[in-house]
């Protein structure tokens, strides 16, 4: 391979890694679900089947008889209750430094959370927002390493 070809290949690899990866990086997986339970991704509605991969920006949606249990790559764990609509608005995680930022939005319904590495690694030196925030229509919460339940009134 000529040096130019090597350079072009490296450049392409770099472009793919820097442009394509962040949008497609898997942030977690569905572990189990019952009843009406979907993952909404843009215009797509995917059944929340065991093993379904999750991406930042996905919405979790359950019907009256629906539940979803899931885990994230930083070991955060979720149980989503019936009649819920929850956005995984932002999830950025560096597996090496174990730092990152997770923002979820509970539009309606209920959720139990055990926080993961994202809330356990101090990030005073980070210039941007870090840790885990959950937004609700009635207020926002900042989870500082713990286990909690949020219920949003109907």
């Amino acid at each position: 391979m000529s040096l130019l070809m090597v350079r072009t290949t490296l450049l392409l690899a770099w472009l793919t890694a820097t442009v394509a990866t962040p949008a497609l990086a898997e942030i977690g997986r569905v572990k189990s679900s019952t009843g009406a339970a979907n993952v909404e991704r843009a215009a797509q509605k995917l059944p929340a089947a065991t093993g379904q991969e999750l991406l930042a920006g996905d919405w979790l949606e359950t019907g009256k008889d629906g539940r979803i249990s899931l885990t994230f790559v930083d070991n955060t764990r979720f149980a989503v209750g019936p009649d819920s609509r929850i956005a995984l608005s932002k999830f950025e995680y560096n597996a090496t430094t174990q730092k990152g930022s997770f923002i979820a939005r509970v539009e309606r319904g209920s959720i139990a959370v055990v926080t993961g590495r994202i809330t356990k690694t101090r990030c005073d030196d980070m210039p941007v927002q870090c840790g885990m925030q959950v937004e609700t229509p009635d207020g926002d919460i900042d989870a500082r390493g713990t286990r909690f339940i949020i219920t949003v009134r109907k």
Partner: protein, 196 residues
């Protein structure tokens, strides 16, 4: 809470006032963290929940926090906790010097890992290889990667989907036991397997 909100709640008290709430619970290992609450209108500033087993009600300008008390969790809240996936479990396997061959004491652990993966629906496996400080950094990066791949390969022969498994080699960057360079150390020659 607005005067109207209080009236609405008062009317609904018998049925259980439907207000958004946050329950802070102890962690599974006994400790617990904190939760900071900010009401939507933002005028009340930040309220910090510090005590485990407490409930905060959102919706007013200032969230109110009180102990869970004798009434404890609501039935739906208990059902949510029961539905949480189990915590990730980690295993450490040790290796013979300079090889991808398991140390004798670790041979039995493979079966435990296999059983753990099999018991979890939608299991994911994250495998991280390490070495001691004998040899060059480059050789150790490669060896640690081969150790991790060896375990992933073995799990694949047991029928687990490679797409749910990942492996990475950390060489001698993350010593379990800090040693000088070129020191043979059985504790550092390891692979960590996280099952989630």
């Amino acid at each position: 809470m607005t005067a109207r909100g209080i009236l609405v709640c008062a009317a609904l008290v018998l049925a259980g006032c439907a207000t958004s709430s946050v329950v802070l619970l102890p962690e599974e290992d006994g400790g617990h963290g904190e939760i900071a609450l900010r009401a939507k209108d933002g005028k009340g500033g930040e309220t910090v929940m510090k005590d485990a087993n407490s409930r905060a009600t959102l919706g007013g300008s200032q969230p109110s926090v009180r102990p869970l008390g004798a009434r404890g969790l609501k039935a739906e809240e208990a059902a949510l906790l029961a539905a949480l996936p189990p915590p990730a479990k980690s295993f450490t396997l040790y290796f013979k010097e300079g090889t991808t061959e398991l140390a004798r004491e670790s041979a039995g652990m493979l079966e435990q890992i296999r059983a753990e993966v099999a018991s979890r629906p939608g299991a994911e496996v994250q495998v991280t290889g390490h070495t001691d400080t004998v040899g060059s950094d480059a050789d150790n990066d490669a060896l640690s990667r081969r150790r991790a791949d060896e375990i992933v390969g073995w799990l694949a022969t047991k029928g687990f989907d490679r797409r749910a498994m990942s492996s990475v080699g950390r060489g001698e960057r993350e010593l379990k036991e800090r040693t000088a360079d070129n020191v043979s150390d059985a504790v550092n020659r390891r692979v960590e397997v996280l099952v989630r």
